[in-house]
Subunit: 338 residues, 2 copies
Amino acid sequence: MRGAVIHAPFDVRVEDRPDPVVVEPTDAILRVTAACICGSDLWPYRGINEVSEPRPIGHEYCGIVVEVGSEVTTVQPGDFVVGGFFASDNTCPNCRAGFHNACDHIESYDGCQAEFLRVPLADGTLVATPEQPAADLIPSLLTLSDVMATGWHAATMANVQPGMTVAVVGDGAVGLCGVLAAKQKGAARIIAMSRHPQRQALAREFGATDIIEERDEAGVEAVKRLTDGIGADAVLECVGTGPSMLQAIGSCRAGGMVGFVGVPHGVELPIRQMFTRNVGVRGGMAPVRAYLPQLMDLVLAGDIQPGKVFDHLLPLEQAAEGYAAMDERRAIKVLLTP
Amino acid sequence: MRGAVIHAPFDVRVEDRPDPVVVEPTDAILRVTAACICGSDLWPYRGINEVSEPRPIGHEYCGIVVEVGSEVTTVQPGDFVVGGFFASDNTCPNCRAGFHNACDHIESYDGCQAEFLRVPLADGTLVATPEQPAADLIPSLLTLSDVMATGWHAATMANVQPGMTVAVVGDGAVGLCGVLAAKQKGAARIIAMSRHPQRQALAREFGATDIIEERDEAGVEAVKRLTDGIGADAVLECVGTGPSMLQAIGSCRAGGMVGFVGVPHGVELPIRQMFTRNVGVRGGMAPVRAYLPQLMDLVLAGDIQPGKVFDHLLPLEQAAEGYAAMDERRAIKVLLTP
């Protein structure tokens, strides 16, 4: 089969790879319908995370089951499925508590930017649609494997409740999905922080009521101006840098929560400021499997259309161009079709 | 009147001070029934917080109103009242949201280890009992001005829910009140971390089901052993040092919350560990006024007896001995009567 392999920074190639096969009786093999490039794929692409040897890449996908191991019971060949960006058993105490990201048997399985994919722990990782979805729903279903689930997680960790004012730091695909999640959870006012016209427009389409272009301390002051000096009830931190975290905490009202999902790089939490203003911080990798059933229902019902984050659709063979477009911020989010 | 004044580290004296008078129309003057020494009073006592000049000390009290300013409407002379350790207006947006610790008009007013006290913003700070309380309820009512409210805040910020397993780091009076708060909120299992027999006994009386004597990494492992390797659902951090915070975060299950109320001294939050395990951190000064009505009801109904934390009762004139006993950990908590 054909599949994307990262060889070194800025060097992603689509090449021949062995067809995946069932290794464990809990595996499923999928024909990938669509995959996408994640902001976190850019860490190795940019050389910030080491690439010590060539390896298959990609962890956001949806597809059709073509084969299952002998112990798989919840999905079967022919099912259209979405899975989280890591495998989980969905039965251990952490999964039962809704935190699959700490599953006792968590397993990563990069390499979905390809024609076929082996998914470990299929019963605990995949969720099937009731029937084959219409083609125009594929992009939105694809987002549930990571980016939309991650935006949802940010809003969940920030404890977004109906009527709240919510600020979102980060206008990447996750931040935009965070806007959509806040809207779906009933936020009355959503402040998106963005200085890109195209992203601002999508943020508004997803439910943002206000756009702030300022950053850092000026961004904090702008949120305060919009909120009678109080700050936002909940803040979604969807970047993962030190300045973005400080902007998020500073924008949050006393007693509010910051939900953070950007993988922290160089973040030092200002404990004294958190204490003085009683601003909480909570987040991490999204427990995708926990959210999949609910989010799938919302997509199938037409209530949310997170697939709008895809502004570049490319054939798998042009994956390298997709990475370049994401890296250079020419694309918000790239969808690849094998 | 007589009142305690801190002159320098390890130098607290009870001396003649001017009787307080109504300065603002929102003031109330109290005759102090009982006051106590707070763990945070030990920061200046030990010279960790600077004492640049002699100043009245003490911020936990209850008493009888003897005079009110012209704008005070909710308490009147003769009322028995408890107030928070800072004054708040109880009307600004932050107070209305339940976070009086960020009140727009917050004001500190140390000096309650004395015969009389001026309380600013009396309407927003004081709560009166329906009638004069029995003498044996005074110690418990006194704790509501800070220590019990602070333990309650830790449990609230840690999101303690019925049936949870809760761990409490810190066996000072706040930590012990945290045990009591967790019990009152319905925790099924409460793990107290303590190596002092007397404090262990009180923790058990307050509802602790398990005692752990180990600290740091060994303490974390002990919590894990008691919880099938999962960790506690909620953790109360009631110390404020770097090691205690790490112990709290390490003891918390994936997806759980650490409520912290120890004033942070040298704390660096382990953001990567928080992210990987999705452990949240939230806390700060207790919004005492928000909790006072509910906690007062619980004390008056006999449901909680936080006054048991007082193991040293001294006349105000012996305040210096009270400070020494707290500093040397001969006392859990000292009650002073003018």
